[in-house]
Symmetry: C2
Subunit: 375 residues, 2 copies
């Protein structure tokens, strides 16, 4: 591959892009993707055509892989989410959309006539997933804080008791990091004497924060979920989007298919699979450790509270949900949005105080908003 070198024009193009990214990263405070990344110890692996094709737990004839490491990562997340010890399965995905699609696909195969319920604060990719999977669905109202409206959910399931419910719960909504109460939803289903149901949990961000908070809500397999998707590029951080999907093994076995060509089971949504991101996740997990994650989450909450205080100092109504590092505030003026990479929706905006966010960035953002307001 070393036959030629880049032209000086192409090299400049690349350098310009690199500078652009460095510059934009300074103002990158509005998305849940952690930035302080140093995986350079692992770059040597990127000289090989690594591919974790197929099922991570089944050997393949494609032997340039990191499946061993992927399985360790799956096991770590299984413990984190209290997955049933003898009945879990999972793999490293290309991100939340794939993990959520996997959960919904599994639900559809188990309950072909099922009706999917999800709140209006659910991530935008879910309605696309439902369209791809051709699943009938009903959007449920949200409460002001972003949490699903339980009364609307209860009433809607009640009048559709002829079809099995498939609950798509969100643990950390996109805009306000609100948490749907899965225990409460579970009790609703029992109260309605529903015999067959499926609960998928989209815990993209909070799947990596709640386990490290004492007294946090129970959202995982203990709460009665059937599958869960957690992002890897969010709280952990990765230069390449990735995630973890976990499901009950006996459910997955019903869709598995043996493929001679790669000598393994075709149990994943994608075929050829990234073998580098499992390495990144493993590395970050091993380096940080449980105590490290606990400290990081605590520091994020402290800085989120600092941000709220700063916003309030200039008269803005900033707030966060109890277990959230997402700080919500009124949509700032256009000049501020032109400089800062901030997500807006309707009349609100948010910043997400991940471990890479610095107090100095918050100070600068608040000062910019204040200046724009008083212009």
């Amino acid at each position: 591959m070393s036959e030629n070198t880049l032209s000086s024009q192409d090299r400049k193009h690349l350098d310009d892009l690199y500078e652009y990214i460095q510059e934009q990263y300074r103002f990158f405070v509005g998305y849940p993707c952690r930035g302080d990344l140093d995986y350079s110890e692992l770059f040597r692996f990127m000289h090989y055509p690594i591919n974790n094709v197929g099922d991570p737990f089944v050997p393949s004839t494609y032997r340039v892989h990191t499946r061993q490491i992927e399985c360790e990562v799956v096991r770590w997340f299984a413990r984190l989410t209290h997955a049933p010890e003898d009945n879990y399965w999972g793999y490293v995905t290309n991100g939340g959309t794939e993990g959520n699609m996997y959960g919904l696909f599994l639900a559809r195969e188990l309950l072909p006539e099922g009706m999917v319920y999800y709140s209006q604060d659910t991530h935008y990719s879910v309605s696309k997933n439902l369209r791809v999977l051709k699943m009938q669905n009903i959007m449920i109202k949200s409460q002001a804080n972003g949490e699903i409206d339980y009364e609307d959910l209860y009433e809607t399931i009640r009048i559709h008791r002829d079809v099995p419910p498939i609950i798509f719960a969100t643990v950390g909504t996109t805009m306000t990091e609100a948490i749907d109460d899965i225990g409460r939803i579970r009790r609703m289903l029992e109260d309605l004497a529903i015999p067959n149901s499926y609960i998928h949990c989209d815990a993209a961000l909070c799947g990596m924060t709640l386990p490290f908070i004492d007294g946090a809500p129970v959202y995982d397999f203990r709460a009665g979920i059937d599958s869960i998707s957690i992002s890897g590029h969010k709280f952990i951080g990765s230069p390449v989007p990735c995630g973890m999907v976990l499901a009950k093994k006996r459910n997955v076995e019903r869709i598995a298919r043996s493929i001679e060509y790669v000598g393994t089971l075709d149990t994943t949504l994608t075929g050829s699979r990234n073998g580098i991101t499992p390495l990144f996740l493993w590395y970050a997990i091993r380096k940080t450790g449980t105590e490290g994650f606990k400290r990081l989450v605590r520091e994020c909450f402290e800085l989120a509270d600092y941000a709220i205080a700063k916003f309030r100092e200039i008269g803005l109504d900033a707030w966060r949900n109890k277990y959230a590092m997402t700080v919500v505030f009124p949509k700032p003026p256009e000049s501020v949005l032109a400089k800062w990479g901030i997500a807006v929706q309707g009349d609100i905006a948010h910043i997400i105080v991940l471990p890479n966010i610095k107090a100095g960035q918050i100070d600068e953002l608040v000062a910019d908003i204040h200046a724009a307001m008083t212009d």
Copy 2:
């Protein structure tokens, strides 16, 4: 992220894995994934949370991205496949499965009642895609060389003229790198006076080889396709699976949806998207150039012929399709399969003579097979 370091035990674990991959790579000759990778110039980008979320051609409020580069790569592939200049669209996928699912999804949205036809030599992921997408489908017989059986296809379409045909054509089958003749299929549809149809082309490997061969079969938009998927980690090579999907822009526009949260269009199957692989593809394309790819393809064919001659010297019936670098030979003994990373299917096996394959590897493999045969 630098808070802690790896334990010496973890570091050894990593070093052992690295050695394992190096060792396995020596015997990696049976899969279409090129290995001589040096993207180290680009590793500096991997310190940032790069994400090409959403449509590559539409700006987003997520500004840490490489969309500009991705669009250049899309344009390069559009020219390569003679996409209609004012009516194409595409993006860098996570690999062939996603590109093929995208083409099928688009076909289903345009022709909801359509019937998918594909040969029995089609990649194994396609039947999974069809299941996910809930598309009715019929598998067509293959010829001995792996090409679709045109008579079976014609007869099958003829007796299902009440539903629009969706042709899933393969340009380079998995096992024998056979090429379905898209021009011929197109003429069949005309002959049967079919008013509405869709052709998706899975050109995972050959999409990067046929354009560099004089007189090669026409398989792209000139032949009347509606979408195409080409892998990036195969002939180009990448440590992370990736690919390109191209489709007609006016078809894609019918499924686009605007998302305020990321300020862009949700036209891709995945949401958060890898921004590193577009950089890899761009870099490899710019470094190699058209003349470079022509030379590489020519050298691969020469070495494939060398391999065939070597196999025949020991009495094995090895062969390749006319435009293929896949050399097919009888399934070797188990002892050979234990050492070499070779794909088998039924009683045949293959090696794929990509640019990283060396004559020495072929010599060693043939010697091993010979020794095992005479044991």
